[in-house]
């Protein structure tokens, strides 16, 4: 009976030891993975910062102005005459049809005069 108990304890201890070792080994593996992930995160942060700086450098207002001058010559600075409130825009077909082209021509002339 005593031997039974002794062997029982021995087997229990062996099982517990094996389990403990297994868990410890697993933790070790997880820690390696964690370190690798943390390294990856750091590297990604680094890359994000570099790309942000590069974006800011490429989107410098003076560079954008120069690029716009070179490739989008038809674009001009916005003038107040081109802004209107949403309420001021007529809804539906206009009745003063014949008058409309004339007024838009005046507006176009106004814009041309300023640019």
């Amino acid at each position: 009976m005593r031997l039974l108990m002794f062997v029982g304890w021995l087997v229990g201890a062996a099982l517990a030891g094996a389990g403990l070792y297994g868990i410890a080994y697993e933790v070790e593996q997880l820690e390696v993975q964690l370190a690798a992930l943390e390294q990856d995160i750091r590297r990604e942060h680094e890359a994000t910062r570099t790309l942000e700086a590069e974006w800011a450098y490429l989107a410098r207002p003076d560079r954008m102005a120069e690029l716009s001058r070179r490739y989008l010559p038809e674009l001009h600075s916005l003038s107040a005459a081109r802004l209107a409130r949403i309420e001021d825009i007529p809804v539906g077909p206009r009745r003063d049809g014949p008058d409309a082209p004339a007024s838009s021509a005046t507006k176009a002339a106004a814009v041309a005069a300023r640019n």
Binding site: G8, E31, T50, A53, Y57, A80
Partner: protein, 587 residues
């Protein structure tokens, strides 16, 4: 179930075995001779003690080994993991926090770089190494590099902050004894655009000027600093100021855009400026911040304050008239008018035509005590509480004589920074409440302080609009945005008095003037007249066009609604609700 079977069997055998030894009480008693003499008995006793001691020692040793094994299996891996983790965090330095503008655009950030050093003792051939290095990094000085490589020290810097490509070039050389230290390098992608606002850092990434210095601790902790600056407005202001500075051959220039409702600085420029990426290459005068550190007698723009104080304190009304028929002589000073009309002027005319004589008489009516009280509440007698370390203290006359009261009435004898002037103007036009100017988006805003009555603010706005439509500030007008402003042209104080030729020309404006959202200030230091300005270098000719151009560019960007009826079909500025104010001009 199967496990139990052999266990039971072993237990049964064990029980039988133990029964076999039962006859003798002592396990050894079975083979001991029945009688022993003293010698044998003693030897046996000694042997038993030795066995016990040795057995205990072995048991303890095995227990220790077993214990250690268990410990290693259970927590040993964790322990070594901690060491690795600790080494990793100690080896990587934290990058300094970003600085972004109000829309989140990156203004300053840290990039990982590598710095090259040499262990001179491990070098095989310093001469060859020096030659190869200078080949790979052409900006290295050959003689200095060779000297460092021959020094025999275990650590000598060769170059800080290499680009990845340069690092690759050095690695390709394969010289033993050269190694890299990972570091962070502060990068300002916009170069000189925000130089005086951001400041710069030293070689070890410590902030030593501008906001980098003020917020050094929190930036070092990696915190992101969000400014009130709008990059686009900053660019527009800098570009227009630069163009004017070059055209008028000025020594310097300063410009500020303030949000009138919150005191937030939307743009702040001081010229000449520098590239914070290379502060060492900047000249002394480029490092000087004219917008906040420089204090100047800003001249007629002060008439905004004098007129506001006169109206608010009740010593004058819009109908008040002042004698400007001839120059005013006070205590050996003669006060003249630049745009002399040589007649009695109404209060709006004093403002529009910028009459020094009228403003001096107005200041006399106000009196020194009231004047000082208002100026202090406007923040013009103390250093402003902006977040920059480079802040100038105003030069206040002491003692404050009656002649000072008069000259300060038109902006002479009290030197303030352009920032203070802009902040004071914002206080006057926004309905009369003062907000401390700020560069950093604040969570808990400082409560605004009322300085002027709302009706005073309305009257001054009307006068500022008049000065643009019919007075000295015509060149600042922008169709659709109802600009109101005031010119200022001050002679710089020289060694013996005022120098007629050296001017500080400025213009301060607010728009849209019926409910101003922004105050824009432009100042040029010692401008000269050009052909385009018919030789004039006054505020109305050189600074007002800058303000007008900046407003025309920034207003649509910032979504300021155009004022109805301010644009005629031909695009020129039209009538506005301040038109009735013009009747004052006919007095």
């Amino acid at each position: 179930m199967i496990d139990h079977v052999p266990t039971d069997a072993t237990a049964a055998r064990g029980a039988a075995g133990s029964r076999a030894f039962r006859p003798g009480r002592h396990p050894h008693a079975a083979y001991l001779p029945p009688r022993l003499d003293g010698r044998v008995r003693r030897t046996l006793a000694l042997g038993r003690v030795r066995l016990l001691v040795a057995g205990t020692a072995m048991l303890l040793a095995f227990a220790a080994v077993g214990g250690r094994l268990t410990q290693l299996a259970a927590v040993g891996a964790g322990g070594s993991g901690d060491i690795v983790a600790g080494a990793a965090t100690a080896g990587t330095i934290q990058p300094r926090g970003k600085i972004v503008d109000r829309n989140g655009e990156v203004l300053a950030t840290d990039l990982a770089t590598a710095s090259l050093y040499a262990n001179a003792r491990r070098l095989l051939d310093p001469e060859e190494a020096a030659l190869a290095l200078v080949n790979a990094l052409p900006d290295l000085d050959h003689a200095a590099t060779l000297k460092r490589l021959r020094s025999g020290r275990t650590f000598v810097w060769l170059r800080r902050n290499l680009t990845p490509r340069e690092q690759w070039e050095v690695n390709r050389l394969g010289i033993p004894g050269l190694d890299f230290v990972p570091e962070y390098n502060r990068v300002y992608p916009h170069g000189p655009l925000l130089s005086h606002v951001l400041g710069f850092v030293d070689r070890d990434n410590r902030g030593i000027a501008g906001l980098e210095k003020t917020f050094d601790a929190s930036l070092n902790d990696g915190d992101v600093l969000r400014l009130t600056i709008d990059l686009r407005v900053q660019h527009a202001l800098r570009e227009e100021l630069r163009a004017a500075m070059i055209e008028h051959d000025a020594k310097g220039a300063a410009g500020i855009v303030l949000d009138t409702r919150s005191g937030e600085v939307v743009a702040l420029v001081s010229l000449p400026d520098f590239d914070p990426n290379h502060p060492g290459k900047a000249r002394e005068r480029s490092l000087f911040n004219r917008a906040t550190l420089g204090v100047y007698e800003l001249g007629s723009t002060f008439k905004i304050f004098t007129t506001a104080i006169a109206l608010d304190s009740g010593v004058a009304t819009m109908e008040q008239r002042y004698d400007a028929t001839r120059p005013l002589t006070v205590a050996s000073h003669t006060i003249r008018d630049y745009h002399a009309k040589r007649r009695w002027l109404s209060l709006p005319e004093v403002f529009m035509f910028s009459s020094n004589i009228g403003a001096a008489r107005m200041a006399l009516d106000i009196g020194a005590a009231t004047q000082q009280d208002y100026l202090r509440r406007l923040g013009l007698l103390d250093a402003p509480a902006i977040e920059l370390p480079e802040v100038g203290r105003p030069l206040v006359p002491s003692p404050w004589r009656p002649v000072n009261t008069m000259t300060i009435g038109f902006g002479h004898g009290l030197a303030v920074s352009p920032l203070q002037l802009a902040s004071g103007a914002a206080t006057v036009v926004n309905g009369g409440v003062r907000n401390e100017p700020t560069l950093v988006a604040r969570s808990g805003t400082v409560p605004p302080v009322r300085v002027f009555d709302a009706s005073t603010s309305r009257q001054i706005r009307r006068l500022m609009r008049l000065a643009v439509t019919d007075g000295t500030g015509r060149r600042a007008d922008v169709a659709g945005y109802a600009v109101g402003g005031k010119t200022g042209t001050a002679e710089k104080p020289g060694g013996t008095g005022y120098e007629g030729s050296a001017l500080i020309s400025s213009f301060v404006a607010a728009f849209p003037i019926d409910d101003p959202r922004y105050v824009v200030l432009a100042m040029l230091d010692e401008p000269s007249g050009s052909n385009g300005t018919r030789g004039y270098a006054t505020g109305g000719w050189v600074a007002a066009p800058v303000v007008g151009a900046v407003i025309a560019r920034m207003a649509p960007m910032l979504g300021v609604a155009p004022v109805d009826g301010d644009v005629r079909p031909d695009g020129s500025p039209g009538g506005d609700e301040f038109a009735e104010g013009r009747k004052f001009a006919s007095y």
